[in-house]
Symmetry: C2
Subunit: 152 residues, 2 copies
């Protein structure tokens, strides 16, 4: 009986905790698809800036600015797709640590916002040197989070 009550309490807590995610997404697989989709679109635009920052394609100030503005906007999206209960429900490379080490994960998520905001500001100057200087730390932010929280 005690065990049943404890389980019920746990279940109730889980439902309450899951409410925000449930409110935003109809089901866990939608949340998973949402974070994967927004990361993919983000990555495409980020890599276009990278190609310019790394000299693989000629620097185009207007394209750099447009892509960086999009990156800063898109970077805000994926976090909402990592709500409670979204560790399964569809194929995902997210490690369990996303949910067991939430404070650390949030630090990484916040850093993504900081660095992509800086990148957008750098791109706005139209100065390729500033773009290059901001791109490195932003790319490193992606990598650090992938290393800690994403399976290969």
């Amino acid at each position: 009986m005690k065990k049943t009550l404890a389980l019920l309490a746990l279940a109730a807590a889980a439902i309450t905790t899951a409410a925000p995610a449930a409110a935003q997404f109809a089901k866990p697989e939608d949340a998973i698809k949402y974070r994967q989709s927004s990361f993919f679109v983000l990555g495409q635009h980020f890599s276009r800036i990278g190609a310019m920052a790394n000299g693989k394609v000629p620097f185009d100030a207007k394209a750099a600015q447009e892509n960086a503005e999009l990156v800063a906007i898109l970077a805000k999206l994926p976090a909402a797709g990592f709500g409670p209960g979204t560790d399964k429900g569809a194929d995902t490379k997210a490690k369990p640590e996303v949910w067991t080490e939430q404070a650390k994960f949030k630090e990484h998520a916040d850093k993504l916002l900081t660095e992509t905001t800086k990148l957008a500001a750098a791109a706005k100057t139209g100065d390729v040197a500033q773009l290059k200087a901001a791109f490195g730390p932003a790319a490193q932010t992606c990598k650090a989070c992938h290393d800690a929280f994403k399976n290969k």
Copy 2:
């Protein structure tokens, strides 16, 4: 010989036409994944506005405005993923008509931008009646394009 030259000319034309898409995406499947991903994220935010417009969830002016601003930005993205040569390369529900009836497809794509811009303006007023009035035509724009250009 004449036939070979004609084929070569056709091939050269195809390469030139495909250049913009090739410049943006490393391979056709990236373009396909890009358009599918951006449509999915767009759809998630659009449906949150729909839930409010249809009275399924309480109207929240701030949430409506944020979602509608995102929708207007995201609506600009998928078109780039329908470049020449992206009719295959990954699973896609896009009908061949996307590429054989480009003028008509562009009309639909332009209408999506017009209606989502109107939706964002309506959401900005904070008036649920205006949101409702703008949501219908925007939703109809999605449906009309799906009916004409998307397999079920």
